[in-house]
C-alpha cells in the first residue's frame, strides 16, 4: 500500500514553540506520507505534537521549516485565498471537542462549509443540492431525527457525528481527525470508529490522531510519533 504514489507527503517538518527563554521543539525534521485510500492512525503520548502535525497538514498552522506536498502542490506556498479553498474543499477536520456553533442547529452546522464557500447569489443556486447532501449525511450518521436540534441538546457521540457530517460536507479528499473519541466513552467511541471504518471502506482517506492503542488498531496503518519524529510504522 505504501508503494503507491503518496498524495500527502511531509518533508523535514520542524516546529518549535518559545516558552520564555526555553524553546520547545515539538516536531524535529519529521517525515511522513499518506497514500490514497489509506486510514492512518498517528499514535503518540499526550504532548508529543500530534495535534501540531495535524494542524500543519490541514493548513491551520505553519511549520518553522519543511515542506508539505498535497496532491502534487506545495501547501505552504498557497496564497490566503488558495489556503482557504484548500481548508474548505480538500480537507475535513474533526476535533476532539467537536467545535460546533451553538447558534446553529444540526443541519446548519453540517451545511456550514458549503455556506462559507458560496456567495449570497451562489447560495441561492446550490442551496437545494447542499440541503439534500446534508440530509443524506444526517441519515448516514444516524442524525435524521435530530436535524433541528442545537449542539447543546445532543450527547457527546451525537455531537461528534455532527462534526463528522460537517467535515464530509464538501466531499474532502482527506479527512483529519484529532482524537475524535478522546472525549467519549468506549462504546460511543467505537460507534464513531465504525463510521470511520465505513468511510474508509467507501474510499475515504483518513488521518486520525490518538493516544489510545486500541483506537489506533482500527486503522490500516499506525505510525508512532515520539521526540518530534515518526519512529515506527506498522501496517495491518
Amino acid at each position: 500500500m505504501t508503494k503507491e504514489r503518496p498524495f500527502l507527503r511531509c518533508d523535514n517538518l520542524c516546529k518549535s514553540y518559545r516558552l520564555g527563554a526555553a524553546e520547545l521543539h515539538v516536531l524535529r525534521s519529521l517525515n511522513f506520507s499518506v497514500a490514497n485510500n489509506e486510514f492512518v492512525a498517528i499514535l503518540g503520548a499526550s504532548g508529543s505534537g500530534k495535534s501540531t502535525l495535524l494542524h500543519i497538514i490541514g493548513a491551520l498552522d505553519k511549520p518553522d521549516s519543511g515542506r508539505v506536498i498535497f496532491d502534487g502542490e506545495e501547501l505552504l506556498k498557497f496564497s490566503g485565498a488558495k489556503a482557504n479553498e484548500f481548508r474548505n474543499k480538500k480537507v475535513g477536520f474533526v476535533f476532539q471537542f467537536y467545535h460546533l456553533l451553538n447558534e446553529l442547529n444540526v443541519l446548519e452546522n453540517i451545511m456550514l462549509p458549503a455556506m462559507a464557500s458560496s456567495s449570497i447569489l451562489g447560495w441561492a443556486a446550490c442551496r437545494g443540492r447542499v440541503k439534500k447532501r446534508a440530509f443524506e449525511l444526517c441519515e448516514r450518521l444516524g442524525l435524521a431525527d435530530r436535524l433541528r436540534h442545537r449542539p447543546y441538546e445532543l450527547s457527546g457521540g451525537e455531537r461528534q457525528r455532527v462534526a463528522i457530517g460537517r467535515a464530509l460536507m464538501n466531499r474532502p479528499i482527506l479527512l483529519l481527525a484529532d482524537e475524535p473519541t478522546g472525549n467519549l466513552d468506549s462504546e460511543t467511541g467505537n460507534g464513531i470508529l465504525d463510521i470511520f471504518d465505513e468511510l474508509h471502506r467507501s474510499g475515504q482517506t483518513i488521518v486520525m490522531v490518538t493516544h489510545d492503542e486500541r483506537v489506533a488498531q482500527k486503522a490500516t496503518r499506525t505510525v508512532r510519533l515520539a521526540d518530534g519524529k515518526i519512529i515506527s510504522e506498522k501496517s495491518i
Binding site: G80, Q96, L104, M115
Partner: protein, 450 residues
C-alpha cells in the same frame, strides 16, 4: 449566506446582544430628546426675540436718543428693501398705581402702534386687542382718556399651567407714570429751581405677552408722542431712542443690515452740520440678533455646553459598545477559529461581524429614535396629565417664558445622531474583530483541549 443568517442568529440568540441594542437605544434616545428640547428652546426663544425687535435696529446707546429721525425714516421708506420702519423711545419711568399703592421703576416704551405692528409681532402679544394694535391706547370705557399697555406679568398672575388669570375690567384703572426730562446734552431739564419730573396718568387698556420674561415683567407701553413730551424729546427737533426696521421678503439679514448701515453713514455725513449731530455718535445699526445678543447668547452657550456634554455621552456609548463587542467576540473566538478552519476568508468574517455590529447599531437607533419621538410627541400631554392627576409639575410654566416643551425633531440632527451611533458600533466592533480574525486558529481550537 451565513454572512446574513449567522449575524441575525447572533442577534436573536445572545442576551448580550439585547444589552448592546439597549445601550445604543438609550444613548440615541437621550441625545435625541435633549438635542430636540434644547434646540427647540433656543429656536423658540430667538423667534420671540426676533418678533419683539424686528429685523434691524438703528439704536442710540444714550438715554437722550437722537434727532432728525423722521428724515432718515422717510429715506428708508423709499428703499425697496425696507418693508416698514417704526420709531421707539425706551426710557426709565416710575410707575405707581393708586389701586395697589405701589411704585415701580420700569422701562417705559413709547411706540406708534399702527407702525409698530408692521415691524414687530406686537399686535399678537396683546390680549384685548389681539391681532390689531391700532386702537390699543384707546380705553374701552372712555375713548378720550390716555391709555397704556403693560407687560402681562405686571397686571396678571401667571398660573401654574402658564396661562394668565385675565379678569375682565369694567372700571377705569389709572396708572401714574413719571419720566425724567433730559436735555440733548443729558442734563436733567431745570424748571425753575427743581428738576423737571413729568408725571402723567394713563389708563390701563391692555397687556402685552411677548413671552420674554424680562420684557413682560418690566415694560409699560405708551404712545410715542406722550413719552416724547414727558422726556423733553419733543419740540423743534424731536428725538427717539431707536428705529426698528423690517426688511422686505427675500432680503438676507446681513445684506439688509449692511445697506442700512451704508445709508446711515451717508445720512450722518449729510446732517453733519446739524446742531444735534453729536447725538449720532452713539447710534449703532444692528441686526436683531446682535441687538438681542446679551439675552440670546447665554442660551446658545448653554446649548453648546449641552452639546459638549452629550458628545461625552457619545464617547461613553462608543466605549460601552466597544466593551460589549469585545466581550461578544472574545467569547466567540472559538467560533472564529472554527469558521476559519472550514475555509472562511478573513473578509467574510469581517463582513459577518461588522454586519452584526451594523444590525445592532440600526436596531438600537431605531428603538431609541422611536422612543424619543414617542416621548416628545406626548411630552406636553404627559406633563399635563402628571399635573392634573398628581399635582406634580415637571415643567413649571409659571417660571419658564416658553409655554410648551419643544417636540419637533430636526431630521438633520436625527440622522446625524443615528449615523454616529451606527459608526460607533462599527468602530467598537472593528478592533475586537480584527484581533479575533488575526489570532492563530490552531491555538484557538486547541484551547479547549488543555
Amino acid at each position: 449566506m451565513f454572512k446574513i443568517s449567522l449575524p441575525i442568529r447572533y442577534l436573536i440568540k445572545r442576551p448580550i446582544s439585547y444589552l448592546a441594542v439597549g445601550a445604543v437605544a438609550l444613548c440615541v434616545f437621550i441625545v435625541v430628546v435633549v438635542m430636540t428640547v434644547m434646540n427647540g428652546l433656543v429656536q423658540e426663544f430667538s423667534d420671540l426675540n426676533h418678533g419683539y425687535v424686528g429685523d434691524c435696529v438703528v439704536v442710540s446707546d444714550s438715554l437722550v436718543g437722537f434727532a432728525h429721525y423722521e428724515k432718515f425714516m422717510s429715506e428708508l421708506q423709499k428703499q425697496p428693501f425696507i418693508a416698514a420702519v417704526t420709531p421707539v423711545i425706551k426710557t426709565f419711568g416710575l410707575v405707581g398705581s393708586d389701586a395697589t399703592r405701589s411704585s415701580l421703576g420700569l422701562e417705559v416704551v413709547g411706540i406708534v402702534p399702527q407702525m409698530h405692528q408692521l415691524v414687530t409681532n406686537f399686535e399678537n402679544t396683546l390680549y384685548y386687542n389681539k391681532g390689531d394694535a391700532k386702537d390699543v391706547f384707546v380705553p374701552p370705557y372712555d375713548a378720550n382718556l390716555p391709555g397704556c399697555v403693560t407687560g402681562v406679568d405686571l397686571m396678571y398672575r401667571r398660573m401654574a399651567d402658564g396661562s394668565y388669570n385675565y379678569v375682565p375690567f369694567a372700571s377705569k384703572l389709572p396708572i401714574t407714570i413719571s419720566c425724567f426730562a433730559l436735555t440733548p446734552r443729558g442734563a436733567v431739564v431745570q424748571m425753575g429751581r427743581s428738576a423737571a419730573i413729568n408725571t402723567r396718568t394713563f389708563y390701563f387698556c391692555d397687556t402685552s405677552n411677548s413671552g420674554l420674561a424680562r420684557v413682560d415683567t418690566d415694560s409699560i407701553y405708551l404712545p410715542l408722542d406722550a413719552v416724547q413730551q414727558m422726556t423733553a424729546m419733543s419740540g423743534e427737533n424731536p428725538r427717539v431712542s431707536a428705529l426698528l426696521l423690517k426688511f422686505s421678503a427675500g432680503i438676507k439679514l446681513d445684506d439688509g443690515v449692511q445697506k442700512t448701515q451704508a445709508m446711515w453713514n451717508n445720512f450722518v455725513e449729510s446732517e453733519g452740520q446739524s446742531e444735534l449731530a453729536f447725538l449720532f455718535d452713539s447710534v449703532r445699526v444692528q441686526s436683531w440678533k446682535s441687538y438681542r445678543r446679551e439675552v440670546i447668547a447665554p442660551m446658545e452657550k448653554e446649548q453648546v455646553m449641552m452639546a459638549i456634554a452629550f458628545i461625552m455621552v457619545g464617547f461613553i456609548t462608543v466605549f460601552i459598545i466597544f466593551v460589549i463587542f469585545y466581550m461578544i467576540i472574545n467569547q466567540k473566538s472559538r467560533d472564529i477559529g472554527v469558521l476559519k478552519s472550514i475555509g472562511t476568508s478573513a473578509g467574510s468574517l469581517f463582513a459577518m461581524f461588522l454586519g452584526f455590529a451594523c444590525l445592532i447599531g440600526l436596531a438600537g437607533s431605531a428603538i431609541g429614535s422611536l422612543g424619543a419621538w414617542a416621548l416628545l410627541e406626548n411630552a406636553n400631554r404627559l406633563e399635563r396629565l402628571l399635573f392634573d392627576k398628581f399635582g406634580w409639575q415637571v415643567w413649571d410654566r409659571s417660571i419658564y417664558a416658553i409655554g410648551e416643551i419643544p417636540s419637533d425633531i430636526n431630521p438633520a440632527v436625527l440622522s446625524l445622531i443615528v449615523c454616529s451611533a451606527v459608526l460607533a458600533c462599527f468602530l467598537g466592533a472593528t478592533v475586537p474583530v480584527l484581533r479575533g480574525v488575526r489570532r492563530n486558529c490552531a491555538d484557538v481550537l486547541r484551547v479547549n483541549q488543555l
